[in-house]
């Protein structure tokens, strides 16, 4: 399972392999939880994906939220599916086998309405074959703590992660909510809890109103905003997480094309997840993988790993033609500004 030795299921040309701790991946592209299912296997070869991620499962069965569960917004969408679940036993017996029809590693997303629910799930899944890693969706209300989002509390996130890590033999990924003042703080709590990697981010809480009825469009009143609209926010948060922790980061939020994914890799994501874009075009992930391969090849890089975290923060040097500099006119040390302004 190590990066270097893992057999590659598909030849992308350049070396696109990455690793999340002990889990080696053929390429850095995987679906976002809730935006993927084995049903997609009838549309394209799921062996081409870096990994598969299940929809979040809960311990028991849940019916999910009332309709409407979806609404479209400028450049994005709101969803409040409410995580219907057939329960963990049905998952292991009926759903997980579906995933095992492909060689692609399967990451199972776990949810809970209390810290212990995550732990119980981890206990139940311990040793179940066909699970490459667990992703903890902590964007759930903690019913024991008054319904406040679990993921907003560093202490609760750390407790959830630590408990699951203690109970698992596979890598544990902590998936963070963006609805917080400091995502860096939650990232550090995840790392402290023993997470192998961090996924950033889940959806931003949003709302829409139907002006005919003056009622919220979404049955649950509020829903999660996803899609290209949130990409700038997600990218900034991934960068903040990257600076806060030393474990790998999985970037997620608004990625529709290779260029989006590359921005996440440049700011320091090791892996990217594609969510909403799979609805727009079910084969979006293939375009992302191919486009990343093209970029790596065109730039003459040895491997995708030479790209990750290469954000240039010395803007002047990065942007200014060597022989020309727009210099400060006040005698301060040169603070070069972009020279582009006259270039066309």
């Amino acid at each position: 399972m190590s990066t270097q030795n893992a057999p590659r299921r598909h030849d992308y040309g350049p070396d696109l392999r990455v690793a999340l701790g002990p889990l080696g991946l053929d390429n850095p592209v995987m679906p976002a939880s809730g935006c993927f299912g084995p049903e997609l296997g009838s549309l394209f070869d799921l062996n081409r994906l870096g990994a598969m991620v299940t929809k979040t499962i809960f311990f028991g069965a849940r019916s999910g939220n009332p309709a409407h569960r979806l609404a479209e917004t400028p450049g994005g969408m709101l969803n409040s599916v409410g995580i219907p679940s057939r329960g963990v036993d049905a998952f292991v017996e009926q759903i997980l086998p579906e995933y095992r029809r492909w060689q692609t590693p399967t990451i199972v997303s776990l949810g809970g309405l209390s810290v212990e629910e995550y732990w119980d799930l981890a206990d139940r899944l311990r040793g179940v074959p066909g699970i490459a890693a667990l992703e903890l969706n902590v964007s759930c209300p903690n019913l024991e703590a008054g319904g406040i989002e679990m993921g907003a509390s560093p202490a609760q996130v750390e407790a959830v992660v630590r408990g699951v890590v203690d109970r698992s033999t596979v890598p544990v990924i902590s998936k963070l909510t963006p609805n917080v003042t400091s995502i860096a703080e939650i990232a550090r709590a995840s790392e402290a809890g023993g997470a192998t990697a961090i996924t950033a981010v889940n959806t931003l809480v949003g709302m829409a109103v139907d002006l005919d009825t003056r009622a919220p469009v979404i049955g649950n009143m509020v829903g999660g905003l996803s899609g290209p609209a949130i990409k700038p926010i997600a990218l900034r948060m991934v960068w903040e997480v990257r600076k806060a922790v030393s474990i790998p980061v999985i970037g997620c939020g608004g990625i529709a094309r290779a260029c989006d994914a590359l921005e996440f890799l440049v700011v320091g994501a090791t892996v990217v997840q594609v969510g909403t874009a799979t609805f727009t075009r079910p084969d979006a992930m293939l375009g992302v993988i191919d486009g990343i391969a093209d970029y790596v090849r065109d730039r003459g890089l040895e491997s995708i790993r030479d790209l990750i975290g290469t954000l240039r923060t010395d803007r002047g040097a990065a942007e200014t033609a060597p022989e020309l500099t727009l210099a400060a006119s006040t005698g301060h040390p040169a603070q070069p500004a972009p020279s582009r302004s006259v270039q066309r």
Binding site: G34, C35, F36, G37, P38, E39, L40, S42, L43, F44, K55, A61, R62, S63, G64, N65, P66, A67, H68, R69, L70, A71, E72, P74, G75, G76, M77, N79, V81, P84, S85, R86, G87, G219, G227, P228, A229, A256, R257, T276, A277, T278, F279, T280, R281, P282, D283
Partner: protein, 304 residues
């Protein structure tokens, strides 16, 4: 306005969509067996042509041979309305397969230009590729024994019924279609239905002919001597109730095609649940457990 509630039936619960109640009749919906569904495919399908068929109604033809070869009446497709370089609108649009030809690979969609997505569909440059996923969902059933089929379509709801009508006519089944719309210029599909030899009753709100009580009376009169073995309905709750009552009286199978907002159309996003509450697990998904459901009318007894 509190509706009558039928007692829980745990065996049926997960297959149950819900029940519509009116003064004297309750309509219960249930999933039909998952046998008619065909394997969907993803095609980058060129748009072949657009034909404006009525006020705000457009028929768009795609070249989608695999979909055309697998389609069954009542199935639908998810059509991406973001063009090549665009990433939004993020959601594809669910559209019934109006008509198709397995030999040529042509698939037709007939839709009302309603919002942004349908406006984009109608403006899609001819020749440009559109991402299309289908066929999707459980089709209408058509029993071997069916000799007479009644269709009730409201608005563009009729577009989910045309292919069933064509299949039925090809088998020699008699087809009667009530095509209901707000205004005469929103009546669509009647030419198609007439061409295949269906009896068509266009009715509209503007002259009151679409009124459900008038329809009921007319149906009562017209159907007196004829048997109806099957009823298919789409696009209106009132028509659904009428259909269920007719079906109950004539002992005919009634199927309804439902709509819901959809993201994936395949069954993995759980966006299109009928939203039924109080079930132990999730209510049926319109895209995967439907869009066609079985409808049954029940008289509401005193003893609940």
């Amino acid at each position: 306005m509190t509706p009558d509630i039928s007692p829980a039936d745990p065996a049926l619960a997960s297959d149950m969509v819900g029940s519509w109640t009116a003064s004297s009749v309750r309509v219960r919906l249930a999933c039909i067996p998952d046998i008619g569904r065909t394997e969907p495919t993803l095609e980058h399908a060129p748009v072949l042509e657009h034909v404006r068929v009525a006020a705000d109604h457009v028929l768009t033809t795609l070249d989608a041979p695999t979909m055309a070869s697998r389609a069954e009446p009542g199935q639908f497709a998810m059509l991406t309305v973001a063009r090549g370089g665009e990433d939004s609108p993020v959601l594809p649009r669910p559209m019934a397969l109006y008509d198709w030809d397995a030999a040529t690979g042509r698939v037709d969609f007939l839709y009302r230009v309603f919002g942004d997505g349908t406006a984009r569909m109608a403006a899609w440059p001819v020749g440009e590729l559109m991402t299309a996923v289908g066929p999707l969902g459980r089709p209408f059933s058509l029993a071997e024994t069916t000799a007479s089929l009644l269709l009730l379509g409201r608005g563009i709801g009729i577009c989910s019924l045309t292919a069933l009508a064509a299949r039925a006519r090809a088998r020699g089944v008699a087809v009667h279609a009530i095509v209901s719309a707000r205004r005469p210029d929103a009546i669509v599909a009647t030419d198609f239905l007439e061409r295949i030899g269906a009896t068509v009753w266009p009715v509209v709100d503007t002259d009151g002919s679409s009124d459900v009580e008038r329809l009921r009376a007319r149906l009562d009169a017209q159907l007196r001597d004829r048997a109806v073995d099957q009823v298919a309905v789409c696009g209106s709750e009132r028509l659904l109730r009428l259909a269920a009552q007719v079906g109950r009286r004539l002992d005919a199978r009634v199927e309804v095609s439902l709509e819901a907002r959809m993201a994936c159309g395949l069954g993995y996003c759980h966006g299109c649940s009928t939203g039924e509450k109080g079930l132990a697990s999730e209510a049926p998904l319109v895209c995967k457990d439907g869009p066609v459901f079985l409808a049954r009318a029940e008289a509401i007894g005193k003893a609940q």
